[in-house]
């Protein structure tokens, strides 16, 4: 088993699936950093562990399902869903997607940048009907490292800088679900690529998009200046983006526009 994949397997199974915080020291360095939206949680046993505990208390039987894993040996990205029921929401259930990019030191994780679709989770709680979970990867722990492809990275970077509109088989947020549509948030957005790497023809990235709202969002009218973070994994075939998924921090955008403080730890 690929060493980085083996570490992520332990992360997903021994820690998240079992809610076993005693595993943390074996999986992450002391000064582990998690970046999500505009937030940075520094320190494994402090801010990170506290934030995770809160989530696992809110969803005591939370599950993590892995949909896609890529690695080039140095970096790893994972597309996943978290799903479960929230007793504080009268048992309402939800399933929401996330895409995370990891760095490691050869034995333990040192950094994670992630976006999770908490906006979709909130919508599911509100309507009382959960979205279905996407199909699990057939063999997530058997993925092998693939060498980086600078040409694929360049295609993905160009697509991001051009505005990252859905093309081919790419889906943003929960738009892959039947009955859901893509929401273009910004008019002529500016995109800053914060992180990007490839494993073969698959490219993972984190970016920050800014612009003026194309339509009212979060109580703000069209034309309001705004920004958000997003992470994604796309496949490049014959020089074009062929498929992929992107998760945007719509929840963070909504809260900023409504002027609401965000509690993360």
């Amino acid at each position: 088993m690929e060493p980085f994949i083996a570490l992520m397997r332990r992360y997903c199974i021994d820690y998240v699936a079992r809610h076993d915080f005693t595993q943390l020291e074996h999986l992450m360095v002391d000064d582990y950093v998690l970046r999500m939206g505009e937030h940075e949680l520094a320190g494994r046993d402090g801010a990170y562990a506290n934030a995770t505990r809160i989530q696992m208390e809110q969803l005591p039987n939370l599950m993590l399902t892995t949909h896609e894993l890529i690695t080039n040996g140095e970096r790893l990205a994972m597309r996943f869903s978290e799903h479960g029921a929230a007793p504080a929401k009268c048992g309402a259930q939800a399933s929401w997607g996330g895409i995370s990019l990891y760095r490691w030191n050869g034995t333990r994780l040192i950094e994670c940048v992630v976006e999770q679709d908490y906006y979709a989770r909130r919508e599911q709680y509100a309507r009382g009907v959960p979205d279905r979970v996407d199909a699990p990867a057939v063999a997530p722990w058997d993925v092998v490292a693939r060498a980086a492809r600078p040409d694929a990275e360049q295609v993905a970077r160009s697509w991001l800088l051009a505005g990252a509109e859905p093309v081919g088989g790419t889906f943003f947020d929960d738009a892959w679900l039947p009955g859901h549509v893509h929401h273009t948030l910004f008019d002529a957005p500016f995109t800053e690529v914060l992180d990007l790497f490839s494993a073969g023809e698959q490219v993972a990235f984190r970016a920050r998009q800014s612009g003026r709202l194309l339509a009212p969002f979060g109580g703000a009218p069209a034309g309001t200046p705004a920004w958000l973070h997003m992470t994604g994994i796309v496949s490049v075939v014959s020089g074009v983006i062929a498929s992929g998924r992107v998760v945007r921090d719509r929840m963070g955008l909504d809260r900023r526009l409504r002027g609401k403080a965000v509690k993360v730890s």
Binding site: M1, R9, I13, D14, A17, R18, H19, D20, F21, T22, N61, M63, T65, H83, G84, A85, G91, Q93, A94, S95, P130, D131, R132, V133, D134, A135, P136, A137, V138, A139, P140, W141, D142, V144
Partner: protein, 280 residues
């Protein structure tokens, strides 16, 4: 949360808690050290017409062999219900096989577990090893069905003897072969009948709140539509084990899944070599 066990904690576990522990602390992390906490010593596995007795003997050897072949094997539940100390589940196992150049497969399984004093004491199950073999040979894996949103929050069901009776009738009349919305071996249409006539004996059954899981054997004669190394001999006496998970509406089977032991039948027809425990 995982932590030190309190005295008697094992006996407090519900069927769902015991099953969850089996999935998260044993199968998905391949940790045989957890087995004594999860499974009774006299665990009995009923499959393919065999009874494999004992947690630490042939059962353990068969699972170890499978995990060696599929070192990244994943267990994904799709639907489940539980009534008192019993639990029925439809699930997939999936991963890549070291013996097939890394080809991957996802195969369906339906099982009924019995829990005693917080540990699994028995299981009736059929697994679609025939589909697994096909996928590994052709090098194209089937998609995995999604898990339920919140399998570990499923409340206990009430025993449903009326639905149990309807499903027994439905099976014994062999109507299961002609119901389009019941997937036979993963197929929504066009599945071979395999057995043309005969009788269905129900070996195990669990019914709760309009859902029924069963383990059965259909004995009769070959319909002549099942492939093997030799041309299937129509009208030859044969049997096939199967397990199912069906939903009822207004007292009738509305939809569901059935997994038949096509692999066991294939082996019987192909070489007349009986399955041995070590080959599971």
């Amino acid at each position: 949360m995982v932590g030190l066990k309190r005295p008697g904690q094992d006996e407090e576990r519900t069927a769902l808690e015991a099953f969850r522990r089996y999935v998260t602390h044993f199968v998905n992390c391949h940790d045989f050290g957890a087995l004594p906490d999860i499974m009774a010593e006299d665990y009995a596995l009923r499959t393919q017409g065999l009874v494999i007795s004992g947690r630490d003997g042939p059962y353990r050897a068969a699972v170890a062999k499978q995990l060696e072949q599929f070192p990244g094997l994943v267990f994904t539940p799709h639907e489940l219900f539980h009534v008192e100390n019993r639990l029925a589940v439809r699930f997939s196992e999936h991963g890549a096989s070291l013996r097939h150049g890394g080809n991957a497969a996802a195969w369906s399984n339906i099982a009924i577990y019995t829990v005693r004093k917080g540990r699994l004491a028995g299981c009736s199950i059929e697994q679609d090893y025939y589909s697994r073999r096909e996928q590994l040979e052709r090098g194209r894996a089937a998609a995995v069905d999604p898990p339920p949103t919140s399998p570990w929050d499923v409340p206990a069901s009430h025993d449903d003897p009326q639905s149990a009776g309807r499903v027994r009738e439905w099976l014994q009349s062999a109507r299961y072969l002609d119901q389009g919305n019941v997937r036979l071996d993963g197929m929504c249409s066009g599945a071979p009948r395999i057995i043309a006539d005969g009788d269905v004996e129900v070996l195990d059954l669990l019914a709760g709140d309009n859902r029924v899981a069963f383990h059965a054997v259909h004995r009769g004669t070959l319909a002549g539509d099942f492939p093997s190394d030799q041309a299937p001999a129509r009208r030859t006496a044969a049997f096939i084990h199967m397990s199912g998970f069906v939903h009822l509406k207004d007292g009738e089977v509305e939809r569901g899944h059935i997994v038949r032991d096509r692999w066991g039948l294939f082996r019987r027809l192909s070489s007349a070599r009986p399955l041995r425990e070590r080959e599971l």
